[in-house]
Amino acid sequence: METQDKSWFRKYAPWIIPVLIGCWIPTIVLYTPEYQNAAYGIKSWFTSTLSSKTMAVRNVDKQIQGSKANISTLQNKLNDLMPEKPYILINTTENRFVLRNSRDTIRTGMCSTGKDEILIYPNGTRKPFKTPKGLFTVQLKRKNPVWTKPDWAFIEEGLKPPSAHAAERYDEATLGAYALSIGDGYMLHGTLYQRFLGLPVTHGCVRLGDADLEVIFNTLDKGAKVFIY
């Protein structure tokens, strides 16, 4: 009897074991989130092969009309968001600007934005030099601007910051011919270092070439939008 059993086992074992493995391996594989994607692939193959039941929706024509009207309304509302007055986009990754009027481009060019540096003062204070991102507005326009140098401008050069109203604080050359203030001490202004345009070298302001700056100054009014990204 035992001999019979053994021979029976020997006979069936070679295919029983692959059958069991064949059942379990797909289970294990398809159990995993990553590979469940395969299961959806199999299902999509079946659904595309077999004829699927047509689903219906009440009043399709009316709904299509309604949806078209919604789209039109939303599109108009989005169009209304476009600024009527010229605005400027500043790309801090590529150090480029685009001056736009509604959807038309007026001018594009290179600029310089923040160098993404943190200066550690001798007393341990950390001062980041970074151009802020987001939406700003032109708050003030100045011709021949005078730069009131903040403390970091001295500390960065290894100097001790002078008193608040000391003469050394006032610099008439650095900002170029025009400056447009966008708040928190940040400005769009000119530069003495035109060769560095296109590079991230500033302390947070946006530097522009002389010709570009003149166009921008004459195009953007007070209140104009400045998008920095």
Partner: protein, 297 residues
Amino acid sequence: MAKKYLFWTLTTLLILLAGYVLTSTVILPVATKNPLPEAILPNAEVKGENNAKKSEKGENIPKKNEKADKNTKKASVKVQPVPEPEETGTNSKDDLMKLFELKKTELLLRARYNLSSEDSIYLVLDLINKVATLEMKGIPLHDSNIKEVWVSNSIRMFHNDALLHWIAQPFVLKNAVATIVRVPFIVKNAPKDTIEANKSEVLPSARKTEDVYIVMNFERNLQLVIQQSEISEGENKIRVDSLRNSYVKREIDKSIKALSSLKREAVIPKIILTLPKSDAIILYRALPQKPKMVLRM
């Protein structure tokens, strides 16, 4: 003889168990359910719309949208609910597909309009036109042409209405891992005097950026992978492969845990975008820490 019965009993039990696990965890959920969580869909009309749509208002509003109303009171623009499918009508497939496409466009526009009231930059991903747009206040800041798009089968298998529910609301980023840093800060000590300041002065140069591979995990299980179209080489390739492999390893670990506890993990719908390196960097660095994304597909 007893051993023979034992063998057959065990074999049958194992096959039944395997069949049960396969059916309950894979076949049935895939075949019958949509495993992806739905978004909450607002169900009112665009202000000032014509009366034709008013007649349909509330006709087919799913119960789950009642809760949505409370959550979306602040939404400035609201649209009609997504129609609840029935099996009794005789509408042509073309009409339904047309309605489906219109609804997708409508949802995208509504999401964009609602996001325009926020003060941060958001991402608009139009997989139909293959464009990724950075937008703020409804104004497109930067357009990137997507070179390639890969969408996982689990998303492709969505029923139309389920897909509309899923993409109805913007996706909010939960976490992101990338081969590049968001803000590449350099830390520098202030010089002690002018001599040291002059010594440390170096001519500025263009930033060198590592190759880009970004994995962004959004709510509702969506995983967005952004990879560069340029081929990585050398150290960059090692860095990109390392991040990619770490995700595969994490998936395998998850799978083993799921298997050992017999608790099926949620399907991760994945979208892989291939963009030019410069665009991938711009997108990643321009977006805030917890950006929102709207999807059209």
